[in-house]
Each structure stands twice: as C-alpha cells, then as structure tokens.
C-alpha cells in the first residue's frame, strides 16, 4: 500500500483504487534498446537508407514536432484547469439543459487558438472536472475548426472566396452541436473513461506539475502512435489513388472524407491542401475541411489515449457521419 499522502496523487479512478502494483519491469529493457540503437546508429541508419523509409522518418518526425507546441498548449490549459478550477465549478457554470450547454461549449471552442491537438487534453480535463460530457465533446469538435487562426488560414487559402471560411465555420459548429446533442441523448456514462483529479493535500504548483506531466506523457505517447500510422499512409498510399472518383458528386464526398481521415493534416494547414484539390467539387472539399479537424488517424489515437477505446469505437463513426452530412448540406446551400 502507498502511504495515504501519496495515494492522493495516484489515479483515484475506481479501477485504480486497488493497491499499486510494483513498478513495471519494462524500463530497464526499454532503456537498453534505446541505448543500443543510439550507440550504434548504423543499425537503423542502414535500414532507413531506403528512400521510402527516409520519407517515412521525415514525415513522422515532422508530424510529431508540429503537433507538440499545440499539445503543450492544451496540456497547460488542462493542468491549469485541474490545479486551479475548483471541482464542480464547471458543472455549475454551464447551463443545466444540454440544449443550451452544448452550443455554448461549442462556441467556446473559438477561444482556443490552436489545432486539434490542443483541444483533446482540454476536453478530457473538462470531463474530469464534471462538465457534461456532451458539452465537452462539442468543445472538442468545434475548437480546432472555428478558432480565429484556422479561420484566417482558410481565408488566405481561398483568395477572393471568404464564403468558404464562413461555410466551414457554420458546418463545423453545426456538426459539433449535433454530435453533442445526440451523445447527451443516447450515450451511456460508462463509455467514457474518467480520471477525476484529486489534488487534496498538495499545493497548486505540485498539482499543476503532476497533471501536466501525466497528460503530456499519455497524450504524447498516443500522438507518436498516430504520427507513425499517418506517416505510413503517406508513404504507402499515393494521393492519386483517390483521383479516379473526382468526377462523381457523391463518390467525391466520400473519398475526400476518407482522405481527410487518412492524411490527418493539421487544421491550420488543411485549407491549403483543400485549395489544391481542384479536381474535386467545392462541396466535397468543404466536407474535407469539416471532417479533418474532428476525426483523423492521429486524433483517433489521441481520443483512445484520453477517453478510452470503448469511447472511440462509438464516437468516431458518429462524428464522421454527422460531419459528412453537415458539410454536404451547408456546402450545397452556401457554395
């Protein structure tokens, strides 16, 4: 058993109330492997002399590095909430009725000036602090698509066509709110892994460090997993594989939704790629811009890490379906 004062900083989720296990035996093994690879670089260096593997390594490292500042921003916000916002304060601050709380939380996403990697730890912390899950999820989905930085880059990528950014804002917020409302009606509380934080007996500073440390390691590990997957897709699947469907309206919507999930491009940069997809219809490109910041391979990895696999299994299909419909409807009306 841990001494009482240390149990407070250990995950107090119900499943973890059992006595702590002895520390895992993994560490020495991992450090040994790392040391070997670093000391004799030729071991991996030879393997990566193939142009395909070198391409993989460059994309993998660039995806990891690119996400890091945004992940750190999200982790800092999450840790501040954990250490300084009193428990249950959020639940009281948000309106009781989901019909009001969900749109409010979705709109609140506009204040987090980052991409999708920032909003995952923040949404996770909001749930842990007692915010209604539906509201936190609306925030999770809306924040990366409707914040000012992303809006500006969308306007820049489509010169002379500000309606694209407007349509993106509307379709993303709509999809986020619909998913939130559906979730509040249908979802079971047990689908979400919760890790309520309990910093009783610790200073704010200690609570901040503990939360930031564990959030960053948890999300960072899953980010690496996601980046490796995405880099593999980039290296193995040529983009032209999707072009055969460009001529057909319905098929191109499905294809660009799939492309958004597979490419996992950061929401700050995806508008530039969408601008280049000129062989596809405007509506299907809007679907690309709505789906991408909500669900992609990198995000699925982060969602699994933050909310658990049972959550992701139900959440991702729901979001993709709602985002595709929302993008198609708004695109047909506006563009």
């Amino acid at each position: 058993m841990l001494p009482a004062r240390d149990r407070a900083l250990v995950d107090p989720a119900p499943a973890d109330r059992e006595p702590a296990r002895p520390p895992s035996r993994v560490p020495p093994l991992v450090w040994a492997v790392v040391a070997t690879l670093v000391v004799s670089p030729t071991l991996l260096g030879d393997l990566f002399s193939s142009v395909a593997l070198e391409n993989w390594a460059t994309v993998f490292l660039s995806l990891t590095l690119q996400a890091l500042p945004f992940l750190v921003l999200g982790v800092i916000v999450s840790a501040v909430i954990s250490a300084f916002v009193p428990a249950e304060w959020l639940a009281r601050a948000l309106p009781d009725r989901p019909a009001v709380a969900v749109p409010v939380a979705g709109l609140a996403g506009a204040v987090l000036p980052g991409c999708e990697c920032s909003s995952v730890p923040v949404a996770g912390r909001l749930v842990d602090k007692g915010a209604p899950p539906a509201a936190a999820l609306a925030f999770l989905l809306a924040a990366p698509a409707i914040n000012p930085v992303v809006m500006v880059s969308t306007v820049v990528a489509f010169p002379g066509r500000p309606e694209v950014a407007a349509a993106r804002f509307a379709a993303s917020l709509l999809a986020a709110v619909v998913v939130g409302v559906v979730w509040s009606r249908l979802a079971s509380a047990s689908w979400l892994e919760r890790r309520p934080s309990d910093h009783a007996g610790h200073s704010h500073g200690r609570a901040f460090v503990d939360t930031a440390m564990s959030d960053l390691l948890q999300a960072g590990g899953f980010l690496v997993l996601g980046a490796a997957l995405v880099a593999t897709m980039h290296t193995v699947v040529p983009r032209s594989a999707f072009d055969a469907f460009a001529g057909e309206a319905a098929a191109s919507i499905v294809v660009l939704a799939v492309l958004a999930v597979v490419l996992s491009i950061c929401s700050e940069a995806d508008a530039f790629v969408a601008a280049g997809l000129t062989q596809f219809s405007m509506t299907s490109r809007l679907v690309f811009l709505v789906v991408g910041p909500m669900v992609d391979l990198k995000l699925i990895a982060l969602h699994v890490g933050t909310f658990g696999g049972r959550f992701a299994l139900r959440f991702e299909p729901l979001v993709v379906a709602v985002a595709v419909v929302s993008g198609t409807v708004v695109g047909t009306v506006v563009l």
Partner: protein
C-alpha cells in the same frame, strides 16, 4: 484492470528526452526539413516548457525517493512511445522530402494563389540581373491567362531539385527529360504538395536525381500545350532552359504559401 504505470523517475527521463529532441531540432537548421519557419518560436517555447516540466518531475521524484522509496505516478506506459521519435532522429537524421514524395503525389495538388508577376518583376529586377521566381510563383503565372504572356517574354531563374521523368511505361524516359521540383508545405512536411516545372532544351548531361540546380530560361507556352496532360495537375508548364548550374541545397528546402 489497472493500467501499468510509469515510475516518476522514468517519467522525468522521458520528458527530458522529449525536451532534448525538441530543442535540438528547433534550434538547428534541421528544423527547416520538418516545419515552416513561423512555427519555430512555438517549438522552442514548447521545448523549454517540457524541459522545465522534466526538471520539476525529477525534483519530485528525488524527494519521494528520499522519503519512502519509489512511488508510482499516474501516466500509463503509453509514455514510453516517446522514445521512438528520439531514436529515429538520433539514428537516421532523415533529410528533407525529395523526389520520392513528389512521385508519391504523381503531379501533386498545386495550390495556386494570387500572384502579381508584373509587380514582382518591377521590384526584383535591377542591374540587369535575371529575376528569380519561386516555383509556386512561376506556376501561378503560367496558369494565369493574363500573365502567361509576360512570363513567356521574361527570362527567369528557378531553383529546385531534379526529378527524372518516366516514360509512358513507367520506366526511364527515353528522351532523358527531367523536371524541376520543389515541395510546398502549409505547416509541416506532412502536408507537402509537389510543385513541378518541366525542363526542356538542356544540352549537357542530365543532372542526377535529387541534385539541387538553378536553371535560367523562359516559359514556353507552345511546348506546354504539347505536353501530355497530367491526370491531376493538368499540364506541367515547360521552361525552355538557357543555362543550368548545380547549387547547394538551400537552408529552407521547401516553399510556403504566403
């Protein structure tokens, strides 16, 4: 099931490794292989924060070990995956994206924005020097009906790397043609798009694939129209080359949308 947890000391070491990787790749020129320059201060700031977090975690771990032996902290073993980028970067130190990435996109999606060639030439031509254009600027002008003509009348300088053309059967091109290429990134190398200009009329031996060259020449509308249409990007514009020289890979290997 209780997830296996990290010891606090290991957590501190992992964070220190992540901070080291981030600061190394953000403070050296290696940075430009991965991200666009405007991201640099944010990456440095992230590296400094992670370093501070590693230090604070190490201090906590040390205090705990003096009090009552090793104590497990909260993060799961997923954190161990953070050694992967460190190992890859240290052992392979990969170069910037090149011909493989260009081919992978088979013509690439080329975002062509607004570009005023006339204004650019007036501000970049002095002392009889041949004005240089970035590849995305050349492509924008070549695809614009109004500016095509001015472009065809102006000798320009382009810098990029060499991608050997392929014949109709996918094998080596019997004519030994090559294309000048550059990759454009919006944020990181993960969203790169290929920029391509076909080079024609080069007399000397064909440069090696991936070699960085500076070519001088003029846009050729007739040859461009005669080019086989690329299924994706339409026709690749042709530069009728008058001179070619090898150059070093630039510090910033990619182009960026304005």
């Amino acid at each position: 099931m209780s997830p296996t947890r990290l010891r606090r000391a290991d957590a501190a070491a992992l964070l220190a490794g992540l901070a080291g990787l981030t600061l190394w790749l953000s403070l050296t020129d290696a940075f430009y292989r991965y991200l666009r320059p405007t991201m640099r201060p944010w990456l440095v700031a992230a590296g400094v924060f992670v370093a501070g977090l590693a230090l604070a975690t190490a201090v906590t771990a040390w205090r705990e070990s003096r009090r009552d032996g090793a104590v497990s902290a909260r993060p799961s073993v997923a954190g161990w995956l953070l050694v992967v980028p460190l190992v890859i970067a240290l052992s392979t130190d990969p170069g910037a994206l090149g011909a493989f990435a260009v081919r992978q996109q088979a013509g690439g999606y080329v975002p062509v924005g607004d570009f005023d060639l006339d204004a650019h030439l007036r501000s970049h031509t002095w002392g009889g020097q041949v004005p240089s254009l970035q590849l995305h600027q050349f492509l924008a002008a070549a695809k614009d009906d109004d500016e095509q003509r001015l472009l065809a009348d102006t000798t320009v300088r382009l810098t990029g790397f060499v991608v050997h053309d392929r014949g109709a059967d996918g094998g080596p091109d019997p004519d030994g043609g090559f294309t000048l290429a550059r990759l454009m990134i919006g944020c990181c190398a993960g969203d790169a798009s290929g920029l391509l200009v076909a080079v024609r009329g080069h007399d000397g031996p064909r440069p090696d694939e991936e070699a960085w060259v500076e070519v001088t020449g003029r846009f050729d509308p007739a040859l461009t129209a005669a080019q086989p249409q690329d299924a994706i990007a339409g026709s690749v514009p042709v530069l009728a080359v008058s001179s070619l020289r090898h150059v070093d890979e630039p510090r910033e290997p990619y182009e960026y949308p304005s």
